[in-house]
Symmetry: C2
Subunit: 203 residues, 2 copies
Amino acid sequence: MDIKYPNGKKFERKELPKQAPVNKPKIETYGNRGMTLEEYLNDTNQFYRERKIAVIHKKPTPVQIVQVDYPKRSAAVIKEAYFKLASTTDYNGVYNGKYIDFEAKETKSPTSFPLKNFHQHQISHMKEVMAQGGICFVILMFTKYDEVFFLEAKHLLAFWERMMNGGRKSITKQEIEQNGHLISLGFQPRIDYIKILDALNLC
Amino acid sequence: MDIKYPNGKKFERKELPKQAPVNKPKIETYGNRGMTLEEYLNDTNQFYRERKIAVIHKKPTPVQIVQVDYPKRSAAVIKEAYFKLASTTDYNGVYNGKYIDFEAKETKSPTSFPLKNFHQHQISHMKEVMAQGGICFVILMFTKYDEVFFLEAKHLLAFWERMMNGGRKSITKQEIEQNGHLISLGFQPRIDYIKILDALNLC
């Protein structure tokens, strides 16, 4: 059957010119404007610092610098450097005099959190911090659902141990829901992890 | 007068070929094998960690990465990057559950410590840490004498204020001796700043 416009003109299906696929703009939802977990946390930490709630910073990315040029009358330029594996977690600082230490990771997996997101150095560091009486945890984000969980390091270490003893190489989402705490995404602050520390009486 | 060798041959002063000046090897003394303050402190912190006394790390040098190459089958190479001004102090960590935060600087000056070794961001950071109940101090080394001092941040801030109000741009050595604490250089650990924290009952 021919399809006709109201004016009687015949409709002809035209081939659209070929072009590179264009990503659909992400729909902006409250608390998520396409930000990465790192950006959320930088925002959060800035909010905490400005309100004098806590002083937490992300550590710089560790790099091994091999070659530096010193051009006359301008800044030194690093011409060769390599990314190094971090020997600690990425975030630390102070809240109420107490030492706070955490790592933040995201996964695209909908069902579990792969433990390969962490490495042995970081796990050892977490143990050392706990032994010293510091507050240690991880912030885990399931990007598929925009869900962020707070999980105390003691639980992460237990799942890590299970893997080292031949068990599964990830934590199921259900296990995270049972042992961790959902942090609802907000605007100010974005990811209010201090609220969880307060609720758990950790500080 | 001519100088002659025992074999009677006449000595002739020869011009040595010109070459770049060679630094004399430093004489090794106990506790100082030409190490920098940073190396001393890395050694010290490693000692503290191994003995489970404290967990303190130096933060990585902050760099602004501009260009990275990803060669096939080998590690990513940073081809262009710049040194950034640190927004915090260099060292932090945990001792007895308390947050520890410090900056370490050395001077060649024999009589005073120039305040230009610090910058406004670091001073602001120290204030924030103190307001949050963290333990904050500086470790100052006079390289001419191999003397290392522990100075609580509150004193540094007072000298900084003096400068901001038009006063001198340095702290005299005498002022550091009066307000700070000499840390004698040791072998294990090299610079036992935790001992000072204990003596001052800061933790």
